[in-house]
């Protein structure tokens, strides 16, 4: 089935920019980048652990590197295998049953047929704030989650647009890359916090007793270490935001193609723009996975924006 499963055209021209999009190449790049990212993360963690050992206790270098590798491997495995469960739990999602959410399940099944992907698992989040996200390492193990507020706010065509947008993320392997990025960021933050805590409590005394001859080398190592620990999570976050912004446009275009109805998605975005109720409370790590930023600053621009400005998304859809 998976081999012969019908797919969308592998190449099409993005209507607004006239850019040629090669989806197969794009998917391959996403998969390659996921592994590259895991390797870079590992290297970074080893470097940090090595420096940490130089600063504190050079005799324990092996131990430090070992611990760092374990943390890195744990995060990578978690990012790959459990990201869906982690993200769903972090967002407070529960499985949607046919009895309770017949409408949502029907819409998802229809869009999956149109997109040529296996039917993803469908979840709901009990929140009046309209939003949605997709997760999972590949189309065979994917899930989409939709808030109850979104189901109530949107009509069928609009909901189809949002669901198709999420399925596009699944098909393009965006979700795998994103969850690996989130895992990388997580590992770096864990290390940083470990180091800071150690610096306050255990570290001070031992350093005083260290060999003074190494003082200068230690000083340099400490500076490099601090820079790495402070800078790398920021860089990881910036990369994540940039990647996320660019992917939203592509997923919008693919959703328009799947539903043959850019207007449905454009109207959905308009309704979300007009929404001004309670926010959806989710942790920072999963924020960029959502259909629109849960913080509701929908027209944010610049390096820290997790999504493209909503006006621009609507404008591009209307021009198709």
């Amino acid at each position: 089935m998976s081999d012969a499963a019908p797919r969308l055209p592998d190449r099409f021209t993005e209507p607004t920019t006239g850019r040629r999009i090669d989806l197969l190449g794009y998917q391959a790049a996403n998969r390659r980048n996921s592994w590259l990212l895991a390797l870079v993360t590992m290297a970074l963690l080893v470097a940090i652990a090595y420096l940490l050992a130089q600063v504190t206790d050079p005799g324990a270098t092996l131990f430090f590197v070992g611990v760092a590798l374990l943390i890195g491997a744990g995060q990578a495995v978690a990012g790959f295998w459990f990201s869906d469960r982690i993200a769903l739990a972090a967002a407070g999602a529960r499985p949607a049953t046919v009895e309770e959410h017949r409408y949502l399940v029907n819409v998802s099944e229809a869009v999956a047929i149109g997109a040529g992907v296996p039917m993803p698992k469908v979840y709901v989040i009990d929140s009046p704030a309209p939003n949605a996200f997709a997760t999972g390492r590949d189309p065979e193990h994917a899930a989409i989650a939709v808030t109850t507020g979104l189901i109530e706010l949107l009509d069928r065509q609009e909901l189809e647009g949002v669901v198709a947008h999420e399925m596009a993320h699944i098909r393009n392997y965006d979700v795998r890359f994103m969850s690996m990025l989130v895992a990388t960021l997580g590992a770096l933050l864990v290390l940083r916090d470990l180091f800071l805590r150690w610096g306050y409590f255990g570290g001070g005394g031992r350093r005083r007793g260290g060999r003074d001859s190494n003082g200068k080398g230690q000083g340099i190592a400490l500076v490099v270490l601090l820079v790495l620990l402070v800078v790398s999570p920021i860089v990881a976050a910036l990369v994540r935001f940039a990647v996320s912004r660019q992917r939203e446009y592509l997923a919008d275009a693919a959703a328009a193609w799947i539903t043959r109805n850019p207007e449905g998605l454009a109207r959905a975005l308009e309704k979300l723009r007009a929404y001004s109720g309670p926010r959806l409370e989710v942790s920072e790590a999963v924020r960029s996975m959502f259909f629109v930023n849960p913080e509701l600053n929908l027209n944010a621009t610049g390096m820290l924006a997790t999504h493209p400005p909503i006006e621009e998304r609507i404008r591009r859809l209307r021009r198709m």
Partner: protein, 190 residues
């Protein structure tokens, strides 16, 4: 030496031909699989109809004409064998069900009936899935036809006896959505 080069070239050509052959077969399976997806949904709809008719009869027993119309379309559905017959019967049923739901509008008690509401959502869901499955079938057919009519597959498709597949004519207004043009891959009569 020269014969070795010729041999290598022949082997490479043969391997290439095999890959093209496999691609043709995969694309063919793909659109046939897409067809069976439509079939699944059409059957599902036909299964829902008796239940719906029973529910509506409880409130509007005298609307005999529309019940007969629905029954006839269901019969045609069951007897359909070819792609075209089944497409025609499916359109007949869509029209009959459309009229049935229009009549139901006149019976507020029926509209408030929980079973009826469930069936109504289920049927519009199936209707929608049929529309998507058809659109998808046409996409798959277009990819298959494009493949076997262009170089290099066209050289193999002839000897393999492969003919272009037939597009489904999707009835006007089946899905009230605007046409989208995606450059060189326009949607088939969606």
């Amino acid at each position: 030496m020269g014969s070795l080069i010729v041999l290598i070239i022949l082997v490479v050509l043969a391997l290439y031909a095999v890959s093209v052959y496999n691609r043709i077969v995969a694309y063919e399976k793909r659109y046939q699989n897409a067809w069976s997806q439509i079939d699944v949904q059409l059957k599902r709809r036909a299964d829902l109809v008796p239940n719906l008719v029973e529910t509506v009869k409880g409130y509007a027993a005298h609307e005999q004409q529309v019940f007969e119309e629905v029954a006839r379309s269901r019969q045609a559905m069951m007897n359909a064998h070819s792609v075209n017959e089944s497409a025609e019967a499916a359109n007949m049923m869509s029209a009959a069900l459309g009229r049935l739901f229009a009549i139901a509008e006149n019976y507020p008690q029926l509209r408030a009936n929980e079973n009826f509401m469930m069936l109504q959502e289920e049927l519009s869901g199936v209707e929608n899935k049929i529309a998507y499955a058809r659109q998808f079938y046409n996409d798959a057919v277009m990819q298959y036809n494009t493949l076997i009519e262009t170089v290099p597959a066209v050289f193999l498709a002839g000897p393999m006896g492969k003919q272009p597949a037939v597009f489904l004519q999707i009835p006007e207004g089946d899905r009230n959505v605007p046409q989208v043009s995606f450059g060189d891959t326009p949607p088939p009569q969606a």
